[in-house]
Symmetry: D2
Subunit: 363 residues, 4 copies
């Protein structure tokens, strides 16, 4: 399939940047999960543009839960959440229609859809589509939290500035859940924000590194071949626009380590088997070992910049210059982190429902 | 599903390290692809242990094509390739049965299979299972080559030593196809090999970085949401034992870059639209742009080392010491590279058959 | 998955009888298919209740194409079609909430969803959900027609009255496409309609037999094992409420035939290989042989009747009597036939896209 | 996918009639299910040809459990069962290679595989492939029996002779499990057998009706849209060669019934909610209601007959006469019934594992 992922819990998205609405259908979540509309709103707010480091397009993100929720709880049937597009600007795209924005999907969409694609504002490739994932992911996050599973993501690095490492995971995840700008260290947070503003002022853009931790996952979940926890998570994460790399545990950061350094020895801690270190990110042989799942996503700089760029006109098949106009994000890493949490939550619900049955993730 | 991947071309694996045989079933490859038994043998040889930097277990890897090939060509029905296990050593595992080897799947397998798992030699988690993928991948590589698509992987880094970057891709891929030790630069090759021998002599192990390039992929292949080329490839790649990170293009290597540096401008080159640089690894918005697909995999050090390690006895639920005996690889990165090529070939056949129909990948 | 079918073309439905809206997401249809809003309306009209032999609930079925269509053609990205529910009656269901209507899904829904289901008007089990399939199916029917593939269904039997057999298939399918009551023989049509009115007047209900033919399917489509054309079609058809049996060709009608009678001999006809008879319904070994695909669906009587029935109260776990009130269909077979056409069209688009690539079904 | 079915429990088959071996890979069965080799043998014996009413090809069906079973129990990893082909006759097929046997898949295979198919003895389309399903199905039947779920199939009709209806289901299923010729009524059994011998003597063939019952299924299993129990079962059942129709409950047999006759009223029986009649075959709205699942399969006559038939030569594209030689079954219905039981068992394991988790079907 294409715009769907998941086996036991399926997630399907639809919509274009300038269409009537965007949305998501989530199928297979257990019946009885409480649906907290305030929490969904709070999550959507974390994704919304924020000041100078974001696009000027401000969508209210008023969502409709069209199906699958009854008397405040999930019914077990498909949940459709629809988010109308209201801030679309009518404008003439014809001048730049065929100028492939470098780093964007304009040219690849043309190759795939033969010119029938809705190209306005990135169409179906727009990051706006992720709003549906955030709304739906909020329900998944609630379901997981009710089973003691918590997810949090911070900006570990941006513009050469590094956040502090995760410490007390439960506390850090709790702290992040309420932070509009997900940087744990205050000094780093201020410096990063300032750097992003500078880049924005230059008409340029920036990416960075997101780090995610999941606590409370039971051991013994995942599959050895093909449906490894790493494989399923990365499959979904690479859909988030701008994510170009995913590593579990330390991977790229310990390329020169020896086995004696990388292996995580097991010990009995508080009467429970657990690895003492976590270079493997909580996963051995594709299966959870009970330690927190940790992973990092490399986020490339937003491709829309205000500097003139070389490109081609793919209708005329000739070289061209491009000067992007309109409203764009100089960085999306601070908005993407809640998308990472949401997608992770949906994927984990899928994995857990497959392992323990469709009723497991119940309220 | 679990031990299966693929939609249009499905790959299913089975077998345990010490069972009767291991194997693979590949379903959905076009009819008429020539099956070159010498090439399959050559590929299996690239995966086989080699001297001091590998395990002492030497399997002849005599394979049987049990079905799906008739008169030297694929029939279009499922291809089953069976590889008997012949070098299994009967020995008593009871002493170490419940001692979880750090970094290995012993403990997670126990959590998942409740003790019913075949634990001998890693059972179904053994890297030996990848022999089937290599045999089947050889047919996929032939099919792709017949359509002008070529795949090559080199060891970009190991033990702190770096290979030269890819240069003329077609020439480098050609060169790699015949190299038992896939390092392009001769000096680096010798240094890396020496470093691996030193680590082996220490009773320790090492990992590193694999870099892969795919040339000849048509533009317009892949999906925007969920079935991105990155997502599908990473899903499969994370099954290869020891791979813990996957990045496309430069990702983790350019975390601080600006958009003006990271974007790949398009130009008309030789009458064809192509990006001038390739920081995006040939993929925009999940879809190929006609440039080579490039990705790098972080390979963790082999978890089996000969040094004493802390661990637990998961039957007795108590702390223990572990001294691993037996035959083990101090490094698998030089053997894993052909597995990466094979898995990549199978995944691309799947993606291309889905895009252009089941007959497309024909001989 | 659950509320999704299809591999190359996926169809996902959502919604409840008394929710905000019902709808469908269709993903994988080729870009460039013309979307004819009048035809969609005409198809929805065929599904709508009609006079005394239908429910009194009349929905306008005003549909929104929310995504995936641009400038009158499909874009190749997911098509979401939303149909608001407007004629829901606010009423108190509490008296009959736990009285399982015999033949309905009330009790099985309770067993599955533990009481969290939206029970109003059948909730997600309502035949109303099929409106989305009809709207989406209309686009699929257009795509197929543009490739010379046509689908038609008539009521072959109802209340003991039989329609004439299919004759000139192309002409009959053409004729059916404009018939509100799909019976080819006029006398049979009148008699059947009269019988349905009588049954309605009794407060009872009736089912019958639908017969479908598909012309123009290319030979060589389908799979031998598991994804046979029969298997995929029946999988989807059994979702249509009240369909309890599916046969291809003559099956149940020729249970005592000999091979010499049942086999369809091949001959060259008009320079083309074709079977002379069609007892196999156009499919041999799961694969199309170029003859029309023919199948028949047994439709059980609508379970909602106005006669008092024995049942249980599943909250109280005790025997009870049930007297159904409200608006119900004494027959749905005349409305179901367009649903059969629609589902068949969507399934065939899926099969054909898988065989010939995603662009095949193009306008 | 093609030669695979199942979501939580996947079944993949491979092999050709005259290849080295045929087999099956079953993935996702719980760990710990006891594997009873005698029972597997007994089931394979039920499928084997028997005397004058079967083919003269007698395969010993010695099977190898190649993986997934350890110390007498399933491990939870893929179970590969391989059955060597030993009784293949080397002969020259060139004379009849391109003569499409009516009712067979020769011509459709040629359309699909373009002549690369292994045509010997029906190749991958051969009923011989079902031996793997029977061997694997035996493990699934054991797993289900351990949870109180039992499956039995009898020949309800053949050559105009009818067996008695199912009576005490548990007793009848028990009785059938040991019957080589699955007809419950002794007189009908003798008459049917005699009729089959007569047809065989004529050089003709016969089909008939199989009826299946499943007891012990929990209520609340299945999905409302697309993955109905009927849809999933029929999808798999239509793969069994010669099955051309599937009905649940009474469907085609009660086409003229009214709702008041067809509805199954619920009552409390022995303290449990259950329908009093079972016209719906144990399924309402796609979901089990706790009553036995009942279905009937229409089996067409075996297409291989010894009478001369009209056909075409698809290489020469011209009309031809065909006189089939070799070893063939004049009827397969008595052999197919154990295949129906096996496929049903595998499908139910898949559905149940999806509903209750992968460990549910445990020994």
């Amino acid at each position: 399939m294409k715009n769907t992922f998941g086996t036991s819990v399926g997630v399907t998205i639809y919509g274009e940047s300038h269409g009537e609405s965007i949305g998501v259908v989530i199928d297979g979540l257990a019946p009885g999960i409480p649906v907290d509309r305030d929490f969904i709103n709070a999550q959507l707010t974390l994704r919304r543009p924020a000041g100078k480091i974001s696009t000027a397009r401000q969508e209210p993100d008023e969502y409709h839960i069209v199906s699958g929720v009854f008397e405040g709880r999930t019914t077990g049937t498909p949940i459709c959440i629809m988010i109308p597009n209201t801030q679309t600007r009518s404008k003439d795209y014809s001048a730049t229609r065929a100028l492939a924005r470098p780093g964007h999907a304009d040219y690849t969409a043309f190759c795939k859809y033969h010119g029938f694609e809705d190209y306005r504002g990135g169409g179906h490739f727009s990051g706006r589509i992720t709003a549906g994932l955030v709304a739906g992911g909020a329900i998944a996050l609630t379901a997981l939290a009710n089973r003691g599973i918590h997810i949090g993501t911070h900006i570990a690095r941006c513009g050469g500035i590094c956040d502090r490492a995760f410490g007390d995971l439960e506390a850090d995840i709790q702290k992040l859940s309420a932070m509009p700008f997900a940087v744990l260290d205050e000094t780093a947070s201020a410096a990063m924000h300032k750097r992003m503003e500078e880049i924005a002022a230059e008409g340029d853009s920036i990416g960075g590194l997101l780090e995610t931790a999941v606590t409370g996952m039971p051991a013994g979940v995942g599959e050895p071949w093909f449906d490894t926890v790493e494989g399923i998570l990365s499959h979904a994460l690479f859909s988030i626009p701008a994510i170009k790399g995913v590593q579990f545990g330390d991977a790229f950061d310990l390329l020169d380590a020896k086995g004696s350094e990388y292996n995580d020895p097991f010990r009995i801690t508080d009467g429970k088997i657990a690895p003492v270190t976590n270079h493997n990110g909580g996963i051995n042989g594709g299966i959870t070992n009970g330690a927190p799942i940790t992973f990092r996503c490399a986020v490339k700089p937003t491709p829309s910049i205000y500097k003139e760029q070389d490109t081609v006109d793919f209708f005329k098949q000739e070289d061209a210059k491009l000067q992007i106009q309109g409203r764009h994000d100089p960085a999306i890493i601070h908005r993407a982190r809640v998308v990472v949490d949401s997608v992770t939550a949906l994927v984990l619900c899928d994995i857990l429902a497959g392992r323990f049955g469709t009723d497991w993730i119940c309220g």
